[in-house]
Amino acid sequence: MSLVGFVKFNNSNIKETVRESLNLIGYSFPGYVQNIVIKPNLCYYWDCTTGQTTDPRFVAKLIELIRDETSSNTDISIVESDASAMLCKYAFRILGYEKLARKYNVKLVNLSGDSYRYTRVTVGKVKFQFMVPETIMNADLKINVPKIKYTMSGIELTCALKNIYGCNPNPKKFKYHRMLTETIVALNKIMKFDLCIVDGNVVSGVKPRKLGLVMASQDNVAIDVAAAEIAGLNPKKIKYIQLAEKENIGIASYIPKGIPINYFKARYPRKDFKRKLMDKAYTFLLLTGLNKKLGL
């Protein structure tokens, strides 16, 4: 089983909080790394206070920690890609990553504009061919810095595995929505991230809330299981977690370290009966196309 570390967020010393989470899982940065990739979750142009996107201040402290533990010359790239409704260059600017890149001398890479190599991958019986960006291929260390949030029905949770969906440089991501489970797993299979540190300070459940969590693991499947439990979801019912385990991306169980998970479970803004009903009504409108006809 993989280790997952849970730490309470310390606003006055974020770097130490991250360091503590890594200590809990016994992780130390490799002595010599040249290229490091950090993948935050930049979703649309939503401010980090909504719990939808990774806080640039969190990434800034992670960069400081990496440079403390490796070398001040380590090349660090923050990566994201264009999406159907988001242009990476504006997301970097609006969400504060341009400012961060200038201050810390790190690169911002729009994977949709990066050089790439086609790679084939099979998940179950589904065969995919993806463009794998060179920045990711050439990285010595890949760090996933996701959020914990509810997402569309059928997928339910966004955390570590789903965040790698954003490493697909194809901006027309909606074309994968019909087989999202397999796509998420396929992308994680060809772009395996070495370390995951969850920015769970503000999370997005039925509404944003300050959860004050930093969670770390070297196993993206195990950390998703923990995230699902915190969000009040059954990880066994989240198909991509189960499929990822089958495909040997990680193990769907974990050994918790640090603060007991119940502390965070009790604070997560979960769906109540009314919200579940509203979701069903909205899904009905979406499926029937009535939402557009009614201007909703």
Partner: protein, 328 residues
């Protein structure tokens, strides 16, 4: 009774709203629409619009069209208004009138020269809540208004509500100051400044404090302090920074206080309203302003919000940009 044939130029966010309401107007019908999006045109055709064009000039060439609703990005206003006026079409123009005062003056000039009506789209003037406030001011039931506080805070163009809507692509012109003319002050501030000018007369002085949370070269927050010719002082707070919508005007008078606000309704309630009436309480002002425009054409009246209003609003905004209290 004369039937006005309308053309709608631009079927983006606000153009779609206008199309929805224009189809329900008395003494008018939507004859043509123009947009570069084939998808938007197909949708308009399905809703019963006879003529659809990918080029707005074709709408202007159509002799059947009496007037056009221009719902284009601000940087395209001047050219489109010039073309429409020269084609002798009356014009309903979305706010802000233009990117700057020079363009606004030219817009007014070209409409005067061609003797066509120009109405600015300011739906708050047609919203029952804000009309009621105007009545109270006129009735004297509030006494002299010493202080007005106006808040117009919303998600803005690139920060749609995270909990409800599927994100929609933001047109790139929204990110370019040279195309939009300014940030939230010109976008939302123009509504408030126009409304307060309607309430209190012309602005004699205005100062601003601007904020840039989203790291763009145009403001996403503005706090303005304005003085009006009737001596009312107004605090105008506008912002694109919040997931929670608020549009509220509070008037503090020597006799009484009053408040009006425009609130989004519950989505289910809105859906029912849309099914029954074709509009919703939230957009009631949008429908009323279009009906007023049509009435002005039918009865040859002067619109309530003219191009000159748009110019005065823009002049006040430019003054606010110049008079920054704290330069960031």
């Amino acid at each position: 009774m004369k039937l006005i044939n309308l053309g709608i130029i631009g079927l983006g966010y606000i153009g779609q709203i206008h199309l929805r309401h224009a189809r329900k107007l008395v003494n008018a019908r939507v004859t043509a629409v123009a947009d570069i999006s084939e998808k938007a045109l197909r949708k308009a055709k399905r809703s019963g619009v006879k003529k659809v064009f990918t080029n707005y000039e074709d709408t202007l060439k159509d002799p059947e069209i009496d007037a056009v609703i221009i719902a284009l990005p601000t940087h395209l206003h001047l050219k489109c208004v010039r073309d429409a006026a020269e084609a002798k079409k009356h014009i309903f123009l979305e706010k802000p009138i233009a990117r700057n005062v020079e363009e606004a003056k030219e817009i007014i000039l070209v409409t005067r020269k061609n003797d066509v009506k120009l109405m600015m789209g300011y739906p708050l003037r047609f919203n029952q809540q804000f009309i009621a406030l105007k009545r109270k001011i006129n009735d004297g039931t509030l006494g002299d208004i010493e202080i007005a506080v106006a808040n117009y805070i919303s998600t803005g163009p690139f920060f749609h509500r995270a909990d409800v809507h599927t994100p929609i692509p933001v047109p790139e012109w929204w990110f370019k100051k040279e195309l939009i003319g300014g940030g939230v002050l010109i976008d939302l501030g123009s509504h408030i400044i126009n409304l307060l000018r309607w309430y209190f007369g012309e602005i004699t002085d205005i100062k601003s404090h601007l904020g840039y949370r989203f790291n763009t070269d145009f403001e996403d927050k503005a706090v303005c302090l304005a003085t009006f010719e009737n001596r009312t002082t107004a605090i105008v707070n506008v912002g694109w920074f919040s997931q929670k919508y608020q549009l509220k005007i509070e008037l503090l008078g020597t006799v009484d206080h009053a408040m009006a606000q425009h609130q989004p309704t519950n989505p289910m309630f809105t859906a029912i309203q849309m099914l029954i009436t074709g509009t919703s309480q939230f957009y009631q002002g949008h429908k009323a302003e279009l009906q007023h425009f049509v009435d002005c054409l039918v009865y040859n009246k002067m619109p309530l919000s003219t191009g000159e209003d748009g110019l005065k609003d823009l002049k006040a905004i430019e003054q606010a940009y110049k008079n920054q209290i704290i330069q960031l």
